[in-house]
Amino acid sequence: MQVTVTVNGEETSGDIEPRLLLVHYLRNHLGLRGTHWGCDTSNCGACTVWLDGLPVKSCTTLAVQADGRRVRTVEDLETGGVLDPVQEGFVQEHGLQCGFCTPGMLMMARALLDRDPDPDTTTIREAISGNLCRCTGYENIVRAVRWAAEHTTAEVTA
């Protein structure tokens, strides 16, 4: 089946099987390996991407369902060599150890901050409750998102 998906602002197309999952379209057909393929059961959230501006689990979305729609992946967070504040926050606050959950955490954190620029820690924990981390115990991830809330892109550049 022929599909056309706008990924990170660029039009992509492919002839795919209807059963192809969005995560595999992104990773295998487009080579965008930033999106991680984790539990495959819609539990872990490592595969989180945005579909028409809303974060979703791409292991539980068919690629054909993204036909004619907009997808945003972790590769799109950095612009012109400048990290998004959520990325810089994960660096500053040591928000990752093995890094497997990080792409999903970053996409969820960006979505949260776009909606609520100054979330408290309870709100942050609720927002990332569909993203599992087995290393950090979440403390540093919550701090990283708070760091991003407290810093602008300009401060990241500086």
Partner: protein
Amino acid sequence: MQVPAPFAYERATSVEHALSLLEQGGSEARLLAGGHSLLPMMKLRLARPETLIDINGLTDLDYVTLDGTELAIGAMTRHATVLDSAVLGEHYRIFADAERVIADPLVRNRGTIGGSICQADPAEDLSAVLSALRATAVIRSSTATRTVALRDFHRGPYETAVGTAEILTEIRVPVRPGVGSAYEKVERRAGDWAVAAAGAFVQLRDGVIGDVGIGLAAVGAAHFTCPEAEAALLGQAPSAEAVGAAAAICARSCHPQTDQRGPEDYKRHLARVLVERALNRSIARAGGTER
């Protein structure tokens, strides 16, 4: 790698189109709403439809409105919309209570109210909510529209009143003035299915319980409810004794099963405690003394 078996994919552009695709596909066709129950089941080969009919384009089934004396919720309304709905929050706080503990924010962006109740998992929260509220389901075929009481909607685990060439289009909930409602759930971790859960609404009239509804999930309650406990509360003062007695009836009459989420006696204990809490919170909210 978990991948569904091959299937034919169709994208419905209207309810009528979806119904004609269902008629063509016969018993091996399935509707794809949010997909967060169906796709995992397809990966595990627990479901193996020959045709998937994607109804995510049916945005005219995505709404929450006050329609006369009833709240009308379109079947394709996402969990996130139900959670944030001001009109639902104004009339029935049980919806936000339940939605806050259904899966996680990512799943709630995709999953739908119609898909959830049609999945008919015995632990599904909205089935208990809607059963408590005595909602009705609007079901359409290419030739007719019919309504089914939510308490007759579920025919067993993973079975509903919706026929192979029918589609659930809407859920209707009667508005009840001066009502309080609440949902209580115990889960092993954030976003999991319930170990046990209970919901309720209470309407107070002249200081006594004038109307009441109880919903139960994951404890093997017939039709996700307990009419015997509801009958015991009608006309009673909203006292701790009356609530405790009704909760005990629920715990006695449900049929929980021992599984990886807990033993039968623990779930029965939870049924009693959670019904008690849901009723007490409903009463507090009905009287405006919500904690």
